[in-house]
Protein backbone atom coordinates (compact mmCIF):
# COMPACT_ATOMS: atom_id res chain seq x y z
CA UNK A 1 0.00 0.00 0.00
CA UNK A 2 2.73 2.46 0.94
CA UNK A 3 4.55 1.48 -2.25
CA UNK A 4 1.53 2.54 -4.26
CA UNK A 5 1.31 5.84 -2.40
CA UNK A 6 5.00 6.45 -3.05
CA UNK A 7 4.44 5.85 -6.69
CA UNK A 8 1.48 8.27 -6.76
CA UNK A 9 3.72 10.81 -5.03
CA UNK A 10 6.41 10.31 -7.64
CA UNK A 11 3.82 10.96 -10.38
CA UNK A 12 2.72 14.11 -8.62
CA UNK A 13 6.31 15.43 -8.53
CA UNK A 14 6.70 15.24 -12.34
CA UNK A 15 6.60 18.49 -14.29
CA UNK A 16 3.29 19.55 -15.81
CA UNK A 17 4.40 18.71 -19.34
CA UNK A 18 5.61 15.25 -18.35
CA UNK A 19 2.35 14.54 -16.57
CA UNK A 20 0.36 15.61 -19.58
CA UNK A 21 2.47 13.47 -21.90
CA UNK A 22 1.98 10.51 -19.58
CA UNK A 23 -1.76 11.14 -19.46
CA UNK A 24 -2.12 11.15 -23.23
CA UNK A 25 0.06 8.07 -23.65
CA UNK A 26 -2.12 6.26 -21.09
CA UNK A 27 -5.35 7.50 -22.65
CA UNK A 28 -4.56 6.62 -26.25
CA UNK A 29 -2.91 3.37 -25.13
CA UNK A 30 -6.05 2.30 -23.26
CA UNK A 31 -8.23 3.19 -26.25
CA UNK A 32 -5.96 1.27 -28.63
CA UNK A 33 -6.12 -1.82 -26.38
CA UNK A 34 -9.91 -1.56 -26.13
CA UNK A 35 -10.28 -1.22 -29.92
CA UNK A 36 -7.97 -4.17 -30.50
CA UNK A 37 -9.96 -6.35 -28.05
CA UNK A 38 -13.25 -5.46 -29.75
CA UNK A 39 -11.78 -6.22 -33.20
CA UNK A 40 -10.37 -9.56 -32.07
CA UNK A 41 -13.65 -10.60 -30.49
CA UNK A 42 -15.57 -9.72 -33.64
CA UNK A 43 -13.63 -12.40 -35.52
CA UNK A 44 -14.90 -15.19 -33.30
CA UNK A 45 -18.54 -14.14 -32.98
CA UNK A 46 -21.22 -14.43 -35.62
CA UNK A 47 -24.63 -14.48 -33.88
CA UNK A 48 -27.18 -11.69 -34.35
CA UNK A 49 -27.37 -10.34 -30.79
CA UNK A 50 -23.61 -10.28 -30.47
CA UNK A 51 -23.33 -8.32 -33.70
CA UNK A 52 -25.75 -5.69 -32.38
CA UNK A 53 -23.92 -5.41 -29.04
CA UNK A 54 -20.64 -5.12 -30.88
CA UNK A 55 -22.03 -2.35 -33.08
CA UNK A 56 -23.05 -0.40 -29.96
CA UNK A 57 -19.63 -1.03 -28.42
CA UNK A 58 -17.89 0.17 -31.56
CA UNK A 59 -20.01 3.31 -31.63
CA UNK A 60 -19.19 3.99 -27.97
CA UNK A 61 -15.50 3.45 -28.63
CA UNK A 62 -15.66 5.75 -31.64
CA UNK A 63 -17.18 8.48 -29.47
CA UNK A 64 -14.39 7.97 -26.91
CA UNK A 65 -11.71 8.23 -29.61
CA UNK A 66 -13.30 11.41 -30.89
CA UNK A 67 -13.52 12.87 -27.38
CA UNK A 68 -9.89 12.00 -26.68
CA UNK A 69 -8.78 13.57 -29.97
CA UNK A 70 -10.77 16.74 -29.30
CA UNK A 71 -9.21 16.87 -25.84
CA UNK A 72 -5.74 16.47 -27.27
CA UNK A 73 -6.22 19.05 -30.02
CA UNK A 74 -7.75 21.54 -27.60
CA UNK A 75 -4.78 21.00 -25.28
CA UNK A 76 -2.37 21.64 -28.18
CA UNK A 77 -4.24 24.75 -29.27
CA UNK A 78 -4.20 26.28 -25.81
CA UNK A 79 -6.95 27.68 -23.59
CA UNK A 80 -8.48 29.79 -26.35
CA UNK A 81 -8.81 26.80 -28.67
CA UNK A 82 -10.56 24.69 -26.08
CA UNK A 83 -12.85 27.56 -25.08
CA UNK A 84 -13.82 27.89 -28.73
CA UNK A 85 -14.37 24.12 -29.06
CA UNK A 86 -16.71 24.08 -26.08
CA UNK A 87 -18.45 27.16 -27.44
CA UNK A 88 -19.27 25.24 -30.63
CA UNK A 89 -20.53 22.23 -28.64
CA UNK A 90 -22.64 24.60 -26.56
CA UNK A 91 -24.13 26.11 -29.72
CA UNK A 92 -25.05 22.70 -31.15
CA UNK A 93 -26.55 21.55 -27.82
CA UNK A 94 -28.62 24.70 -27.45
CA UNK A 95 -29.80 24.34 -31.06
CA UNK A 96 -31.05 20.86 -30.30
CA UNK A 97 -32.67 21.96 -27.03
CA UNK A 98 -34.50 24.89 -28.62
CA UNK A 99 -35.71 22.66 -31.48
CA UNK A 100 -37.30 20.28 -28.98
CA UNK A 101 -38.70 23.08 -26.81
CA UNK A 102 -41.18 24.17 -29.53
CA UNK A 103 -40.77 27.91 -29.25
CA UNK A 104 -43.19 30.34 -30.87
CA UNK A 105 -42.78 33.20 -33.30
CA UNK A 106 -42.74 35.74 -30.48
CA UNK A 107 -39.59 34.11 -29.10
CA UNK A 108 -37.55 34.87 -32.21
CA UNK A 109 -35.75 37.95 -30.89
CA UNK A 110 -35.08 36.31 -27.54
CA UNK A 111 -33.53 33.33 -29.30
CA UNK A 112 -31.35 35.54 -31.46
CA UNK A 113 -30.15 37.15 -28.23
CA UNK A 114 -29.44 33.73 -26.73
CA UNK A 115 -27.52 32.30 -29.68
CA UNK A 116 -25.64 35.29 -31.02
CA UNK A 117 -25.04 37.45 -27.95
CA UNK A 118 -25.33 35.46 -24.71
CA UNK A 119 -23.43 32.40 -25.92
CA UNK A 120 -20.38 34.19 -27.40
CA UNK A 121 -20.26 36.60 -24.44
CA UNK A 122 -20.30 33.80 -21.88
CA UNK A 123 -17.40 32.05 -23.58
CA UNK A 124 -15.56 35.35 -24.00
CA UNK A 125 -15.90 35.90 -20.24
CA UNK A 126 -14.50 32.40 -19.67
CA UNK A 127 -11.60 33.13 -22.01
CA UNK A 128 -10.83 36.35 -20.12
CA UNK A 129 -10.97 34.45 -16.78
CA UNK A 130 -13.47 36.89 -15.27
CA UNK A 131 -14.85 34.22 -12.98
CA UNK A 132 -16.99 36.53 -10.83
CA UNK A 133 -18.90 37.88 -13.82
CA UNK A 134 -18.92 34.38 -15.33
CA UNK A 135 -20.90 32.99 -12.39
CA UNK A 136 -23.64 35.64 -12.47
CA UNK A 137 -23.89 36.69 -16.12
CA UNK A 138 -26.54 34.14 -17.16
CA UNK A 139 -28.30 33.45 -13.84
CA UNK A 140 -28.80 37.18 -13.16
CA UNK A 141 -28.44 39.46 -16.16
CA UNK A 142 -29.63 37.19 -18.95
CA UNK A 143 -32.43 35.97 -16.69
CA UNK A 144 -33.68 39.56 -16.54
CA UNK A 145 -33.01 40.42 -20.19
CA UNK A 146 -34.78 37.49 -21.89
CA UNK A 147 -38.33 38.27 -20.61
CA UNK A 148 -37.84 41.95 -21.47
CA UNK A 149 -37.01 41.11 -25.08
CA UNK A 150 -39.88 38.65 -25.09
CA UNK A 151 -42.36 41.21 -23.74
CA UNK A 152 -41.28 43.69 -26.41
CA UNK A 153 -42.20 41.09 -29.04
CA UNK A 154 -45.82 41.52 -27.89
CA UNK A 155 -47.00 37.93 -27.53
CA UNK A 156 -48.59 37.29 -24.11
CA UNK A 157 -49.55 33.69 -24.89
CA UNK A 158 -47.99 31.34 -22.27
CA UNK A 159 -45.49 34.08 -21.50
CA UNK A 160 -43.85 32.69 -18.37
CA UNK A 161 -43.69 29.14 -19.74
CA UNK A 162 -41.92 30.24 -22.93
CA UNK A 163 -39.38 32.37 -21.12
CA UNK A 164 -38.72 29.65 -18.57
CA UNK A 165 -37.95 27.23 -21.40
CA UNK A 166 -35.45 29.56 -23.04
CA UNK A 167 -33.81 30.51 -19.76
CA UNK A 168 -33.52 26.85 -18.73
CA UNK A 169 -31.99 25.92 -22.06
CA UNK A 170 -29.38 28.69 -21.74
CA UNK A 171 -28.64 27.70 -18.15
CA UNK A 172 -27.95 24.07 -19.03
CA UNK A 173 -26.43 24.27 -22.51
CA UNK A 174 -24.42 27.48 -22.12
CA UNK A 175 -23.91 28.26 -18.44
CA UNK A 176 -23.51 24.63 -17.36
CA UNK A 177 -21.26 23.54 -20.20
CA UNK A 178 -19.09 26.68 -20.05
CA UNK A 179 -17.83 25.44 -16.67
CA UNK A 180 -15.88 22.75 -18.52
CA UNK A 181 -13.45 25.16 -20.26
CA UNK A 182 -13.51 27.28 -17.09
CA UNK A 183 -11.84 24.35 -15.32
CA UNK A 184 -9.02 24.56 -17.85
CA UNK A 185 -8.45 28.21 -17.07
CA UNK A 186 -8.84 28.05 -13.31
CA UNK A 187 -5.68 29.31 -11.62
CA UNK A 188 -5.12 27.35 -8.44
CA UNK A 189 -2.15 27.89 -6.15
CA UNK A 190 0.66 25.35 -6.77
CA UNK A 191 -1.35 23.89 -9.68
CA UNK A 192 -0.49 26.31 -12.48
CA UNK A 193 -0.77 25.03 -16.04
CA UNK A 194 -2.54 21.84 -15.06
CA UNK A 195 -6.14 22.96 -15.63
CA UNK A 196 -6.54 20.35 -18.36
CA UNK A 197 -6.16 17.66 -15.70
CA UNK A 198 -9.21 18.95 -13.86
CA UNK A 199 -11.28 18.78 -17.04
CA UNK A 200 -9.92 15.34 -17.85
CA UNK A 201 -10.60 14.22 -14.27
CA UNK A 202 -14.21 15.45 -14.51
CA UNK A 203 -14.90 13.80 -17.87
CA UNK A 204 -13.20 10.56 -16.82
CA UNK A 205 -15.02 10.14 -13.50
CA UNK A 206 -18.42 11.11 -14.94
CA UNK A 207 -17.91 8.65 -17.83
CA UNK A 208 -16.75 5.93 -15.41
CA UNK A 209 -19.84 6.47 -13.27
CA UNK A 210 -22.13 6.37 -16.34
CA UNK A 211 -20.60 3.18 -17.68
CA UNK A 212 -20.75 1.46 -14.27
CA UNK A 213 -24.37 2.51 -13.80
CA UNK A 214 -25.30 1.31 -17.28
CA UNK A 215 -23.61 -2.08 -16.79
CA UNK A 216 -25.13 -2.48 -13.32
CA UNK A 217 -28.66 -1.76 -14.48
CA UNK A 218 -28.26 -4.17 -17.41
CA UNK A 219 -26.76 -6.98 -15.35
CA UNK A 220 -28.93 -6.72 -12.25
CA UNK A 221 -32.28 -5.81 -13.86
CA UNK A 222 -33.29 -3.66 -10.91
CA UNK A 223 -36.65 -2.05 -10.36
CA UNK A 224 -36.77 1.35 -12.08
CA UNK A 225 -37.51 4.35 -9.84
CA UNK A 226 -39.41 6.33 -12.47
CA UNK A 227 -40.32 3.96 -15.29
CA UNK A 228 -42.37 6.72 -16.97
CA UNK A 229 -39.12 8.54 -17.69
CA UNK A 230 -36.35 5.96 -17.69
CA UNK A 231 -36.81 2.21 -17.73
CA UNK A 232 -33.33 1.63 -16.33
CA UNK A 233 -32.66 4.26 -13.68
CA UNK A 234 -32.63 2.63 -10.24
CA UNK A 235 -31.17 3.77 -6.94
CA UNK A 236 -28.88 0.79 -6.59
CA UNK A 237 -27.41 1.19 -10.07
CA UNK A 238 -27.08 4.90 -9.32
CA UNK A 239 -25.18 4.09 -6.10
CA UNK A 240 -22.93 1.61 -7.91
CA UNK A 241 -22.16 4.27 -10.52
CA UNK A 242 -21.22 6.80 -7.83
CA UNK A 243 -19.07 4.28 -5.97
CA UNK A 244 -17.23 3.40 -9.15
CA UNK A 245 -16.74 7.09 -10.00
CA UNK A 246 -15.33 7.67 -6.49
CA UNK A 247 -12.88 4.79 -6.99
CA UNK A 248 -11.84 6.20 -10.36
CA UNK A 249 -11.47 9.62 -8.71
CA UNK A 250 -9.21 8.22 -6.00
CA UNK A 251 -7.12 6.44 -8.63
CA UNK A 252 -6.74 9.67 -10.60
CA UNK A 253 -6.04 11.84 -7.55
CA UNK A 254 -2.41 12.24 -8.63
CA UNK A 255 -3.47 14.59 -11.42
CA UNK A 256 -5.52 16.80 -9.05
CA UNK A 257 -4.37 19.31 -6.44
CA UNK A 258 -6.14 17.40 -3.64
CA UNK A 259 -5.58 14.12 -1.75
CA UNK A 260 -7.21 10.81 -2.66
CA UNK A 261 -10.14 11.13 -0.23
CA UNK A 262 -11.12 14.61 -1.44
CA UNK A 263 -10.72 13.54 -5.06
CA UNK A 264 -13.00 10.56 -4.44
CA UNK A 265 -15.58 12.80 -2.76
CA UNK A 266 -15.64 15.38 -5.54
CA UNK A 267 -15.75 12.60 -8.16
CA UNK A 268 -18.78 11.10 -6.41
CA UNK A 269 -20.55 14.46 -6.31
CA UNK A 270 -19.81 15.14 -9.99
CA UNK A 271 -20.92 11.65 -11.08
CA UNK A 272 -24.16 11.91 -9.07
CA UNK A 273 -24.89 15.29 -10.61
CA UNK A 274 -24.17 13.96 -14.10
CA UNK A 275 -26.38 10.88 -13.70
CA UNK A 276 -29.27 12.98 -12.38
CA UNK A 277 -28.73 15.44 -15.22
CA UNK A 278 -29.12 12.65 -17.71
CA UNK A 279 -32.37 11.62 -16.03
CA UNK A 280 -33.68 15.19 -16.28
CA UNK A 281 -32.78 15.34 -19.99
CA UNK A 282 -34.59 12.06 -20.59
CA UNK A 283 -37.73 13.53 -19.04
CA UNK A 284 -37.42 16.49 -21.38
CA UNK A 285 -36.98 14.27 -24.42
CA UNK A 286 -39.96 12.11 -23.42
CA UNK A 287 -42.07 15.27 -23.27
CA UNK A 288 -40.87 16.29 -26.73
CA UNK A 289 -42.01 12.92 -28.10
CA UNK A 290 -38.58 11.40 -28.59
CA UNK A 291 -38.77 7.74 -27.68
CA UNK A 292 -35.25 6.69 -28.57
CA UNK A 293 -32.07 7.80 -26.91
CA UNK A 294 -29.42 8.96 -29.34
CA UNK A 295 -30.20 9.81 -32.95
CA UNK A 296 -32.10 6.67 -34.01
CA UNK A 297 -35.29 8.70 -34.32
CA UNK A 298 -37.12 10.42 -37.11
CA UNK A 299 -38.30 13.29 -34.91
CA UNK A 300 -36.91 16.60 -36.12
CA UNK A 301 -34.40 17.82 -33.58
CA UNK A 302 -33.38 14.55 -31.97
CA UNK A 303 -29.80 14.67 -33.15
CA UNK A 304 -28.40 12.94 -30.09
CA UNK A 305 -25.78 15.49 -29.02
CA UNK A 306 -27.83 16.74 -26.07
CA UNK A 307 -27.97 13.21 -24.67
CA UNK A 308 -24.22 12.97 -24.70
CA UNK A 309 -23.39 16.31 -23.16
CA UNK A 310 -26.24 16.40 -20.61
CA UNK A 311 -24.25 14.65 -17.84
CA UNK A 312 -21.36 17.07 -18.39
CA UNK A 313 -23.70 20.09 -18.37
CA UNK A 314 -24.93 19.11 -14.93
CA UNK A 315 -21.66 17.82 -13.51
CA UNK A 316 -19.35 20.66 -14.63
CA UNK A 317 -20.83 23.53 -12.56
CA UNK A 318 -21.05 21.40 -9.40
CA UNK A 319 -17.51 20.16 -9.83
CA UNK A 320 -16.19 23.61 -10.72
CA UNK A 321 -17.51 25.14 -7.53
CA UNK A 322 -16.44 22.24 -5.36
CA UNK A 323 -12.90 22.68 -6.69
CA UNK A 324 -12.97 26.44 -6.26
CA UNK A 325 -14.22 26.32 -2.70
CA UNK A 326 -12.37 23.35 -1.27
CA UNK A 327 -9.10 23.23 -3.19
CA UNK A 328 -6.09 24.33 -1.11
Amino acid sequence: MSGLLDRLDALRRLSADDQIALLFVALFGALAVASAVVSLRSITRDDEEGALREKQLRRGLGALWLGALVFWVSWLSGPMGSTLAFGVISFLALREFITLAHTRRGDHRGLILAFFLVLPLQYLIVGLRRFDLFSVFIPVYVFLAIPVVSALAGDPHRFLERNAKIQWGIMVCVHGLSHAPALLLLELPRFGGRGAFLLFFLVAVVAAGQIAQELASRALRLRPVVWQIDRQFSWRAFAIGIAFAALAGAGLSWITPVDAASAAASAAVAAASGALGELVMRALKKDAGVRFWGNASSITGAAGLLDRVAPLCFAAPVFFHSVRWYAP
Binding site: F91, L94, R95, E96, I98, T99, T103, R105, H108, L111, I112, F115, F116, A288, G289, V290, R291, S298, I299, T300, G301, A303
Partner: protein, 206 residues
Protein backbone atom coordinates in the same frame (compact mmCIF):
# COMPACT_ATOMS: atom_id res chain seq x y z
CA UNK B 1 -12.31 25.60 -57.45
CA UNK B 2 -14.27 28.47 -58.91
CA UNK B 3 -15.80 31.29 -56.91
CA UNK B 4 -19.26 29.85 -57.49
CA UNK B 5 -18.21 26.48 -56.04
CA UNK B 6 -16.74 28.22 -52.99
CA UNK B 7 -19.94 30.21 -52.55
CA UNK B 8 -21.98 27.02 -52.82
CA UNK B 9 -19.87 25.32 -50.18
CA UNK B 10 -20.18 28.34 -47.89
CA UNK B 11 -23.97 28.46 -48.27
CA UNK B 12 -24.30 24.72 -47.63
CA UNK B 13 -22.04 25.03 -44.57
CA UNK B 14 -24.09 27.87 -43.11
CA UNK B 15 -27.34 26.02 -43.84
CA UNK B 16 -26.01 22.97 -42.03
CA UNK B 17 -24.71 25.01 -39.11
CA UNK B 18 -28.01 26.81 -38.61
CA UNK B 19 -30.52 24.06 -39.43
CA UNK B 20 -28.62 20.78 -39.57
CA UNK B 21 -30.32 20.25 -42.99
CA UNK B 22 -30.69 16.55 -42.33
CA UNK B 23 -32.04 14.54 -45.25
CA UNK B 24 -34.15 11.53 -44.26
CA UNK B 25 -34.49 9.22 -47.27
CA UNK B 26 -37.57 7.20 -46.37
CA UNK B 27 -39.05 6.13 -49.68
CA UNK B 28 -36.02 6.18 -51.96
CA UNK B 29 -32.24 6.38 -51.69
CA UNK B 30 -30.34 9.46 -52.88
CA UNK B 31 -29.39 8.48 -56.40
CA UNK B 32 -27.87 10.12 -59.46
CA UNK B 33 -30.88 9.80 -61.73
CA UNK B 34 -33.18 12.40 -63.22
CA UNK B 35 -35.90 13.31 -60.74
CA UNK B 36 -38.51 15.95 -59.99
CA UNK B 37 -38.64 16.73 -56.27
CA UNK B 38 -41.78 18.49 -55.05
CA UNK B 39 -42.21 19.84 -51.53
CA UNK B 40 -44.24 22.00 -49.17
CA UNK B 41 -43.35 25.68 -49.22
CA UNK B 42 -43.15 27.62 -45.96
CA UNK B 43 -40.14 29.87 -46.21
CA UNK B 44 -37.59 31.52 -48.46
CA UNK B 45 -35.06 29.04 -47.11
CA UNK B 46 -36.88 25.96 -48.45
CA UNK B 47 -34.78 25.65 -51.59
CA UNK B 48 -31.48 26.08 -49.76
CA UNK B 49 -32.53 23.43 -47.25
CA UNK B 50 -33.41 20.79 -49.86
CA UNK B 51 -30.24 21.62 -51.77
CA UNK B 52 -28.05 21.32 -48.64
CA UNK B 53 -29.76 18.06 -47.67
CA UNK B 54 -28.82 16.49 -51.03
CA UNK B 55 -25.46 14.71 -51.34
CA UNK B 56 -22.80 16.96 -52.92
CA UNK B 57 -22.77 15.01 -56.22
CA UNK B 58 -26.50 15.64 -56.74
CA UNK B 59 -26.43 19.36 -55.98
CA UNK B 60 -24.91 20.39 -59.32
CA UNK B 61 -27.58 18.61 -61.40
CA UNK B 62 -30.60 19.55 -59.25
CA UNK B 63 -32.00 22.94 -60.16
CA UNK B 64 -34.49 25.34 -58.56
CA UNK B 65 -37.06 27.50 -60.29
CA UNK B 66 -36.50 31.24 -59.89
CA UNK B 67 -38.68 34.21 -60.83
CA UNK B 68 -36.83 35.99 -63.63
CA UNK B 69 -37.84 39.55 -62.71
CA UNK B 70 -36.62 39.31 -59.09
CA UNK B 71 -33.60 37.02 -59.39
CA UNK B 72 -32.03 38.81 -62.36
CA UNK B 73 -32.66 42.34 -61.05
CA UNK B 74 -29.20 42.80 -59.51
CA UNK B 75 -25.82 41.42 -60.65
CA UNK B 76 -25.31 39.54 -57.38
CA UNK B 77 -28.74 37.86 -57.41
CA UNK B 78 -28.28 36.94 -61.03
CA UNK B 79 -24.80 35.49 -60.37
CA UNK B 80 -26.02 33.59 -57.29
CA UNK B 81 -28.95 31.94 -59.05
CA UNK B 82 -27.16 31.36 -62.37
CA UNK B 83 -23.69 30.26 -61.30
CA UNK B 84 -24.21 28.76 -57.83
CA UNK B 85 -27.69 27.23 -58.02
CA UNK B 86 -28.06 26.85 -61.83
CA UNK B 87 -31.63 28.11 -61.51
CA UNK B 88 -34.27 27.74 -64.20
CA UNK B 89 -35.79 31.20 -64.74
CA UNK B 90 -39.50 31.58 -65.31
CA UNK B 91 -41.59 34.65 -66.07
CA UNK B 92 -44.21 35.47 -63.49
CA UNK B 93 -46.27 37.50 -65.97
CA UNK B 94 -48.07 35.13 -68.28
CA UNK B 95 -47.86 36.10 -71.93
CA UNK B 96 -50.20 34.64 -74.55
CA UNK B 97 -47.57 33.29 -76.90
CA UNK B 98 -45.47 31.47 -74.30
CA UNK B 99 -46.08 28.41 -72.18
CA UNK B 100 -44.91 29.20 -68.61
CA UNK B 101 -43.63 25.63 -68.27
CA UNK B 102 -41.40 25.92 -71.33
CA UNK B 103 -38.11 26.60 -69.39
CA UNK B 104 -38.86 23.65 -67.08
CA UNK B 105 -39.53 21.34 -70.01
CA UNK B 106 -36.28 22.42 -71.59
CA UNK B 107 -34.32 21.70 -68.39
CA UNK B 108 -35.90 18.25 -68.11
CA UNK B 109 -35.10 17.47 -71.78
CA UNK B 110 -31.56 18.45 -70.89
CA UNK B 111 -31.52 15.67 -68.30
CA UNK B 112 -31.47 17.89 -65.18
CA UNK B 113 -33.43 17.27 -62.00
CA UNK B 114 -35.82 19.94 -60.70
CA UNK B 115 -37.14 21.04 -57.32
CA UNK B 116 -40.60 22.55 -57.47
CA UNK B 117 -43.00 23.91 -54.88
CA UNK B 118 -46.42 23.17 -56.40
CA UNK B 119 -48.33 25.35 -53.91
CA UNK B 120 -47.08 28.37 -55.86
CA UNK B 121 -46.85 30.56 -52.77
CA UNK B 122 -45.64 30.07 -49.22
CA UNK B 123 -48.13 28.77 -46.67
CA UNK B 124 -47.37 29.65 -43.10
CA UNK B 125 -49.64 27.52 -41.03
CA UNK B 126 -51.18 24.09 -41.07
CA UNK B 127 -51.46 21.96 -44.17
CA UNK B 128 -50.10 22.96 -47.56
CA UNK B 129 -52.47 24.73 -49.96
CA UNK B 130 -53.84 22.88 -52.97
CA UNK B 131 -51.29 22.18 -55.70
CA UNK B 132 -51.05 24.12 -58.95
CA UNK B 133 -51.38 22.15 -62.16
CA UNK B 134 -47.76 22.48 -63.36
CA UNK B 135 -46.76 19.24 -61.64
CA UNK B 136 -49.50 17.37 -63.54
CA UNK B 137 -48.37 18.69 -66.91
CA UNK B 138 -44.74 17.79 -66.21
CA UNK B 139 -45.81 14.29 -65.10
CA UNK B 140 -47.74 13.93 -68.38
CA UNK B 141 -44.87 15.06 -70.57
CA UNK B 142 -42.13 13.15 -68.71
CA UNK B 143 -43.69 9.88 -67.54
CA UNK B 144 -40.25 8.28 -67.15
CA UNK B 145 -38.98 10.84 -64.60
CA UNK B 146 -39.82 9.78 -61.01
CA UNK B 147 -41.65 12.39 -58.91
CA UNK B 148 -40.27 12.46 -55.36
CA UNK B 149 -42.44 14.04 -52.64
CA UNK B 150 -40.58 15.81 -49.82
CA UNK B 151 -41.62 17.38 -46.53
CA UNK B 152 -39.52 20.22 -45.14
CA UNK B 153 -40.00 20.37 -41.39
CA UNK B 154 -39.46 23.24 -38.94
CA UNK B 155 -38.07 25.78 -41.38
CA UNK B 156 -40.75 28.37 -40.57
CA UNK B 157 -39.33 28.47 -37.04
CA UNK B 158 -35.86 29.32 -38.34
CA UNK B 159 -36.98 32.52 -40.01
CA UNK B 160 -40.59 33.59 -39.47
CA UNK B 161 -42.14 36.05 -41.89
CA UNK B 162 -40.73 39.55 -41.47
CA UNK B 163 -37.54 38.52 -39.64
CA UNK B 164 -34.11 38.82 -41.22
CA UNK B 165 -31.83 36.96 -38.81
CA UNK B 166 -32.29 33.18 -38.74
CA UNK B 167 -32.40 31.35 -35.42
CA UNK B 168 -30.48 28.06 -35.25
CA UNK B 169 -33.15 25.36 -35.12
CA UNK B 170 -32.82 21.87 -36.54
CA UNK B 171 -34.76 21.11 -39.71
CA UNK B 172 -35.26 17.90 -41.64
CA UNK B 173 -36.14 17.12 -45.22
CA UNK B 174 -37.98 13.81 -45.53
CA UNK B 175 -37.97 12.30 -49.03
CA UNK B 176 -40.76 9.81 -49.81
CA UNK B 177 -41.41 7.04 -52.30
CA UNK B 178 -41.55 8.12 -55.96
CA UNK B 179 -44.93 8.44 -57.56
CA UNK B 180 -46.10 8.79 -61.15
CA UNK B 181 -49.22 9.46 -63.13
CA UNK B 182 -51.54 6.43 -63.25
CA UNK B 183 -53.25 5.48 -66.50
CA UNK B 184 -56.36 7.58 -67.02
CA UNK B 185 -55.87 9.61 -63.83
CA UNK B 186 -57.41 13.10 -64.07
CA UNK B 187 -55.75 16.33 -63.01
CA UNK B 188 -57.54 17.08 -59.70
CA UNK B 189 -57.18 13.46 -58.59
CA UNK B 190 -53.45 13.37 -59.29
CA UNK B 191 -52.76 16.74 -57.65
CA UNK B 192 -54.70 15.65 -54.56
CA UNK B 193 -52.74 12.40 -54.41
CA UNK B 194 -49.44 14.25 -54.77
CA UNK B 195 -50.38 16.66 -52.00
CA UNK B 196 -51.38 13.78 -49.71
CA UNK B 197 -48.03 12.11 -50.41
CA UNK B 198 -46.23 15.25 -49.22
CA UNK B 199 -48.39 15.62 -46.10
CA UNK B 200 -47.90 11.94 -45.23
CA UNK B 201 -44.18 12.59 -44.76
CA UNK B 202 -44.65 15.12 -41.98
CA UNK B 203 -42.83 13.80 -38.87
CA UNK B 204 -45.31 13.58 -36.01
CA UNK B 205 -44.31 13.39 -32.35
CA UNK B 206 -45.59 10.02 -31.15
Amino acid sequence: MTRADAMGMLIAFIARLVTGAQGHWKGCPPKAEQRIYFANHQSHLDWVLIWAALPVELRAVTRPIAARDYWTSSPFRHWLTREVFHAVYVNRQRTDDQDPLEPLVEALRNGDSLVIFPEGTRSHKGDPQSFKSGLFHLAQQFPEVPLIPAWIDNVQRVMPKGEVVPVPILCTVTFGAPLGLSAGEDKPGFLERARDAVIALRPSPA
